[in-house]
């Protein structure tokens, strides 16, 4: 086990080979921006955690008025409006998905909604899924989404902080990933389907707070990152029905310094591909496919809040073999990283006056 732990922590920083890039501020004055989606016309939609959806037009101008029709969200601490994701047929249907926190301080959790965007506002909004049970506090919601090639989507969730043991309970949604059809139904091949004691939407369990998700179509891999407590942030490859161990296994300790568990790994649980100890607080995650940075082809990019950086992860045969620290010069908590249709990287900084930043080749 010791050897395994060393291996997990081993792929360390190249750090020196700064790519030949330039950082451009596209938009400033975004309040805790959380996620962005690229529109077919070259514009972008950006969520702000307090509950606003903002439109950045194809010229890079931020529309002053927020997009109307966003569902009411519970905005407090980590709670609020999370991700915006376009439906696969968005160009025809105008449909998009929003994840957000519902409820109030005493009873809340993560919801998934769908609405139609006409370029100005949202209409025909509907709630497709709400994680249950509603819990107290305003921490650990997950809220990221990814589309799978079989026309389903995966929504990440969190353990609600105080309810960490419930991440091992398949009878609720806390600390899990759920897989849904694009209409919010339960796919008939979901791994927990048929288990009467489990929620049928579950796709995997044993997570703490999943903050990044990427589907790699070339490797047919679903990858997520999740926050550990103090240490033990993880990169995981998701297998349907697998249990990732939280809180029975962790490479981190509690914020007080106390051990949450004496076990870093146990045979019953799927270990992480990589863990970050000390924590970097990973947030968004993107897979690079594009022409602007040929050297980055197929690499993972993980934005970090506490780490105030982006980690570039180089993989070989399913393993992370090297990491590179990027964009520390911003000196900012980075909430999300995306690859635009132009092949540039886009970053969102997590501040009351947050920014949308584009990474372009220097030349």
């Amino acid at each position: 086990m010791k050897r395994m732990s060393l291996w997990l922590a081993a792929p360390l920083l190249a750090g020196l080979a700064h790519a030949d890039y330039r950082l451009e501020t596209v938009v400033e004055g975004l309040e805790h921006p959380w996620s962005l989606a690229f529109l077919p016309d070259g514009g972008m939609l950006v969520t702000e955690r307090p509950g606003r959806l903002r439109l950045v037009d194809a010229d890079g101008e931020l529309r002053e008025a927020p997009v109307a029709g966003v569902p009411e969200v519970f905005a407090e601490a980590q709670a609020g409006l999370f991700e915006v994701m376009l439906a696969p047929d968005f160009a025809d249907s105008g449909l998009l998905y929003l994840s957000y926190a519902y409820g109030d301080l005493n009873a809340n959790n993560t919801c998934l909604g769908r609405a139609r965007f006409n370029g100005e506002g949202l209409s025909a909004g509907e709630v497709l899924f709400c994680a249950s049970p509603a819990k107290r506090g305003a921490s650990h919601y997950g809220g990221r989404m990814a589309l799978l090639p079989d026309e389903t989507l995966v929504l990440t969730l969190g353990d609600g902080f105080d309810h960490r043991e419930q991440a091992q309970n398949a009878g609720n949604h806390l600390g899990s990933l759920v897989r849904l059809t694009l209409d919010g139904g339960v796919p008939d091949d979901n791994p927990f389907l048929g288990d009467d004691s489990a929620r049928p939407e579950l796709y995997s369990i044993g997570h703490r707070n999943v903050q990044g998700i990427v589907y790699d179509d070339q490797r047919d891999e679903l990858l997520i990152n999740e926050h550990g407590p103090r240490g033990g942030d993880e990169l995981n490859r998701i297998q349907p029905g697998a249990n990732y161990g939280w809180p029975l296994t962790s490479h981190g300790v509690d914020y007080t310094g106390a051990r949450i568990t004496p076990f870093r790994e146990l045979p019953a649980f799927t270990p992480p591909l990589l863990h970050w100890t000390p924590s970097i607080a990973p947030s968004g995650m993107a897979l690079y496919r594009g022409d602007a940075f040929p050297d980055w082809q197929g690499d993972l990019f993980v934005s970090a809040l506490a780490g105030q950086q982006v980690r570039r992860l180089l993989r070989e045969q399913g393993r992370v073999v090297e990491q590179q620290v990027l964009f520390e010069e911003l000196g900012a908590r980075i909430r999300d990283v995306r690859v635009g249709p132009d092949g540039y990287l886009y970053l969102l900084t997590d501040h009351a006056e947050g920014a949308l930043i584009r990474v372009v080749p220097a030349s």
């Binding site: 506090g137 029975l248 007080t256 051990r259 146990l266």
Partner: protein, 149 residues
């Protein structure tokens, strides 16, 4: 006069030690109980090493909180004794426990997470931690009694 303050300081330090160490050990057992309830086997060795880990990792931070609690609660209790003829063996433990309870409420209200010390998520865990503080208060009362007897 110097002797009086020396006794109080000794009592305070002992109360701080007892409250901190007992609290650390208590919260470790609650955390391990939660892990065991999920099906993990906790051997005696694991229990001991985890307890020692927490004495090194958790106790220093907890000592800061306890020191602040006792520094406020014990003098306040001494003040109350001037008007209320309650036995020291009751008043000081009560003051220490109430002080810790208030401190936990304040910390949880200010900290970004709902509950900072995981063992205090449950009533039984909170009461156990308060019991540790009461024990510290009792030690302080004994020290004072020892001086006056």
């Amino acid at each position: 006069m110097i002797e009086k303050w020396r006794t109080r300081l000794k009592g305070f330090v002992l109360a701080l030690l007892v409250t901190t160490l007992s609290g650390s050990l208590i919260q470790t057992q609650f955390n391990l109980a939660a892990i065991a309830a999920l099906g993990a086997e906790i051997s005696l060795t694991t229990r001991l090493t985890t307890s020692v880990h927490d004495l090194l990792g958790f106790a220093p931070l907890y000592a800061g909180l306890v020191a602040a609690v006792l520094a406020a609660a014990l003098p306040l209790a001494a003040l109350v004794r001037r008007w209320l003829a309650l036995p020291a063996g009751l008043l000081y433990p009560l003051a220490a426990a109430l002080g810790l309870w208030l401190a936990l409420l304040v910390v949880d209200a200010l900290a970004p997470m709902p509950t900072l010390i995981a063992a205090t998520r449950s009533l039984s865990g909170t009461l156990a931690m308060l019991g540790g503080a009461a024990l510290g208060g009792l030690v302080y009362a004994c020290c004072r009694a020892g001086r006056t007897s």
